[in-house]
Amino acid sequence: MKKGYLGIDIGSISTKGVILDEQHNIVTSSYIWTEGNPIKAVKDLLHQLKESLEEEIEIYGIGTTGSARKLIGLMVDANVVKNEITAHAIGTTHFYPDVRTILEIGGQDSKMILLKDGLIEDYAMNTLCAAGTGSFLSSQAKRLGVDIEDFGHLALTSKNPVKIAARCTVFAESDLIHKAQVGYKKEDIIAGLCKSVVLNYLNNVGKGKKIMPPIVFQGGVSKNEGVTKYFSEVLKEDIIVDPNSHLMGAIGIALLAHKYEDGKMRSLDVADITFETKGRECEKCSNHCEILRIYKDSKFIESWGSKCGKVS
């Protein structure tokens, strides 16, 4: 039977899964909303992946990345659990070995990864203020009554983008409301918003970094043509957006799962086990640590959050 490697990227907004074969071709992939419940999202994701498989495949490695990587890593018995910076870099260099700069804007975090000869040289990640770009765009789309999928397309039709404060998303939002109320056209506001996302990203995440071509843009927001256009306009360089740009993290971690294969076969049937977390505040000292206990099939397996290490 064919051997396969599963990569799961559990972000704050969306969960991505991909299965690669031994030659690193994509066998199947899936993309669903996390909706604040990574455990349920991953169960649904695995169902979808399993159903979309045309032939049976034996999974010999599972990797998890993204902000819920630790929790899901335990749940699916992953052999690799790695941060999203490394996963994204490995995924991207697989398709674009010469890439020098990766721009990544996701639902919650934005990152910039600088590479040289296929190795990460440096990276930057948003501090407190540039956060929430992807989720910010989708909430603004809702406010303007536009589908998020049409958002970037509409931006391209604008001939005169309005100026929207780029300092932070809170200011951008109040500026946007103001501009809408004084009567600017919807597409001009949307184009202005896309541009402000670009400027905000370059000013915060890209501060002090030297951006060299080739440049690859990925993460959920890379699906927005408006943002891509303004990146290219501001940086005066071509911007590559791969059709699988949203899957790069998942692909990267699947590649790592293959690299660190441990010979153990894994199952996609996690959907049938019960996996629960219970949170509580520890009262034993004045630190009041938030303890999270994890149960698999009602059996306690691990706990996180204790500062003293004596409480589980």
């Binding site: 902000s67 941060n83 190795l119 407190l128 002090g208 630190n287 009041h288």
Partner: protein, 325 residues
């Protein structure tokens, strides 16, 4: 022999009132925050030699942080919020709280304005009477004079206070030497070595620093505390990085970099939000050194996931570089 005819064997460290009754020692509170991490050892030695009882607030807890945040205004940095939390803890647990006003140790040895304003902020917010002394070397007010003033306000003589000051300095230097030797030993380790550039009141604070220390040790990284190796003989080595810095504590932090830069794999700049001097000095230094660096800014957030992702990615880069080399 007392004038009323009763013989008193004066025990060391015991205070008597005018009638010759034995009094409890004066209890002096020291908040375990901000400049405790610079002068704590000296204060304790000095005050105890003068017969006081010293009460040091405990390691920072979530309660202390929350109290501090309640008392602070929104412009104060995390470290200052913690300081107020520690003072709050000491309220009604001591007779006086020691809050000095340390402005500078010379024209180009300025402290952060927070250190200058502490006395006034605390005396406005709390009821416990304060003990204080001023250091303003640029205007001829030395640390020694400050400590003598402190001794006099405790009812001790000038000479006695002066001797206690010199004893406390001795103790302080001894401790620093020991710390430095221990920290320098870490340079011989063969795993990834990360130089931590952080004010001691951040990295040494258990609430802020411990989670970072734990993540680093889980990643098999040796964390070298730059502040502990600050070497007097390397004084002014920071001038190669910037000739005209005037923040005393930041200068002390960065002067380690030129000295050990060939022995480390990377630098972690750790600052509390929104630290003014750090935001300028760290940014300045980052652009001048050719060592991989990471700047982490910490605030009140209690989740450590963001911190983990950033540190783990950074260590991945350092490990890759090490293998390639």
């Amino acid at each position: 022999m007392c004038h009323c005819g009763i013989i008193i064997h004066k025990e060391k460290n015991t205070t008597y009132n005018a009638l010759g009754d034995k009094m409890d020692k004066i209890k002096i509170g020291i908040p375990k925050a901000l400049h405790y991490y610079y002068y704590g050892t000296m204060w304790k030695a000095f005050l105890e030699e003068l017969g006081c009882e010293v009460v040091i607030s405990p390691n920072t807890t979530k309660d202390i942080l929350e109290q501090g945040c309640k008392l602070a205004n929104d412009e104060m940095c995390l470290s200052l919020k913690l300081y107020l939390g520690h003072i709050h803890y000491l309220e009604e647990k001591c007779d006086y709280i020691l809050v000095p006003r340390i402005d500078n140790y010379g024209t180009f040895e300025q402290t952060c304005t927070n250190f200058l304003s502490l006395y006034d902020i605390v005396s406005n917010l709390f009821k416990t009477p304060l003990l204080t002394y001023n250091v303003d070397v640029a205007h001829k007010k030395s640390e020694l004079e400050g400590f003598i003033h402190l001794g006099i306000s405790l009812g001790k003589g000038k000479e006695q206070s002066k001797i206690a000051y010199f004893h406390s300095i001795e103790k302080f230097i001894k401790m620093r030497k020991k710390q430095r030797i221990q920290e320098l030993k870490k340079l011989n380790m063969t795993n990834i070595k990360l130089l931590i550039i952080s004010h001691p009141y951040n990295f040494e604070d258990t609430f802020i620093g411990n989670s970072i220390k734990k993540i680093l040790s889980d990643l098999n990284v040796t964390a070298i505390d730059g502040e502990m190796i600050t070497l007097n003989e390397n004084r002014n080595s920071e001038e190669s990085l910037s000739p005209n810095l005037y923040w005393k504590y930041n200068k002390e932090l960065i002067e380690t970099i030129p000295v050990i830069k060939d022995n480390i794999d990377g630098i972690l700049f750790l600052s509390s939000f929104p630290c003014g001097p750090d935001s300028l000095v760290n940014e300045l230094i980052m652009r001048k050194i050719n060592i991989p660096y990471l700047n982490l800014i910490i605030d009140e957030e209690s989740g450590s996931a963001g911190m983990e992702t950033r540190l783990e990615s950074f260590i991945d880069i350092l490990e890759n570089k090490k293998t390639v080399r």
